[in-house]
Subunit: 258 residues, 2 copies
DNA sequence: TCAAAAATTGACAAGATGTCAAAATGTGCA
DNA sequence: TGCACATTTTGACATCTTGTCAATTTTTGA
């Protein structure tokens, strides 16, 4: 019993090790650079053993992504518990999404890769089901906020639009913008100064257009943003500014060197 | 001179032939199923000759996509010439985009594939530049409509949002929704009845929120849609309904058979 | 007609995935 | 402990790609 359990622990440990190695490659070089061969070398096991853990490299990708969606899910959960009007809770969701992408900038790209041609077909159903379940959970969290707002009569939707369709639209907006940003299109050059701010602003306009109370000019937008940062995501905000400082420091020391 | 020209024509013809073959594979089986080998076989030339036309299969993909964006561009041009208020012209752009996707349902996916991991790095710069140029042209067409509206005082934007940022938001919304639709997420099951309609409705809400005159309830929305279909896209709408009829016919004859 | 130029071919190297028989290691019983 | 049996690990192998290039064929133009 004890030896069996030790073996199982070893297998678990190895699984994590391989996922970590894959994560590093994915973040630094992308999915195209990921190969079973390399994971075998770096983990110092043979290729056959890697295949015992993952049916293909696509499964490794989706398992990494599932972990990231999981993390986003906890961000969403926390955001949805923000103490404020329902519309402010939705704003907190936007902040959560942006913060998530800011902390791990490669995430949107990786998520996109899961949906790229030929990936989903290769992934074994279990991992894919898990992926779909996690995505549905995200939608659920946001849909709940919309439903709360409707219940509180702060939002009325007519027959042409139901709550899930609104969530679908918000999702499209955020997802689309994060993807376009992850491409190498020279947005700055085209005239986009701050993509994140623009999208937040436009989602606000969308909600105003639907008549979601309080309207954008009826509450202190910046004050709410500040409260969300302080009350919900204090640790993450600190981590982010810390990282930015470290980056500018190393940038300075680099430019001093040259 | 004449023989040289004949040779050149032959090369041109072969280039088109190979692109056509690739297009068919891409539409039916996707990018993963595309291989230089297969194009060589189907075109009855050798692999080396295929490589004389295209540096890699990624270049074939991007050239196919460029043709599709080109087509979208002409749709946009026509839409932007719609005889109506500037806001109605923008609605025509949405119709153009949806019609484009409806006529060639694989297009959004193919476009996404261009931006998938490891594609842009392999494509030779010429084709990539062309791609970026075409995308910038699309943005330009829409930005012009926004600028016209501002010039006509039908829309005022404050400092937090400029015209290109608004276009970026509209683009994100459309692009994101078309991608999500192209995935195999069971949207219907989650509660989304008509994704295209929902997005059109929400983009309208967004423009209302920005105060773009005339507001959504101030003009006959369905009447405008009808006019756009009749005046700008009559041929394409006819083609689409014709195709749908053919499909339901074959569906019927199929079910009669069984 | 023929030599030089250009185009075409397919064998080949490189590198990846996924399989599987053989080798190594672990388990449990006498 | 020693031994037979079960499980795990390994890496050679078959297969499939891409991309290259020397040899061959075709075209050109004088």
């Amino acid at each position: 019993m004890k030896t069996l359990s030790r073996k199982q622990r070893e297998i678990h440990h190895r699984h994590s090790l391989m996922l970590e190695i894959a994560e590093t490659i994915l973040k630094n070089e992308g999915f195209a650079a990921l190969s079973m061969e390399r994971i075998a070398e770096l983990s110092e096991y043979s290729k056959g053993t890697v295949y015992q853990h993952f049916a293909c490299k696509e499964e490794i990708l989706i398992q990494c992504c599932n972990a990231h969606i999981q993390r986003l899910s906890t961000f969403f959960e926390r955001a949805s518990q923000f103490d404020g009007r329902h519309r402010e809770r939705l704003l907190a969701i936007f902040v959560a999404h942006d913060l998530w992408a800011a902390l791990e900038p490669k995430c949107p790209e990786l998520l996109q890769t899961v949906s790229a041609d030929g990936i989903r077909d290769k992934v074994p159903p279990e991992s894919l089901d898990e992926h779909n379940r996690l995505e549905a959970a995200l939608i659920g969290i946001v849909a709940n906020i919309v439903n709360d707002a409707i219940y509180a009569s702060e939002l009325q939707l007519d027959d042409s639009l139901n709550p899930v369709e609104l969530v679908f639209g918000l999702w499209s907006l955020s997802y689309g913008s994060q993807l376009i940003q992850s491409y190498n299109i020279p947005l700055q050059q085209l005239g986009v100064r701050d993509a994140v701010n623009a999208i937040t602003r436009l989602s606000g306009a969308m909600l105003d257009g639907l008549g979601w109370q309080p309207l954008g000019h009826e509450f202190d937008y910046d004050e709410t943003l500040k409260r969300i940062a302080d009350e919900v995501f204090a640790d993450e905000m600190a981590l982010l500014t810390e990282r930015k400082l470290a980056q500018s420091d190393s940038y300075q020391s680099n430019s001093q060197k040259t």
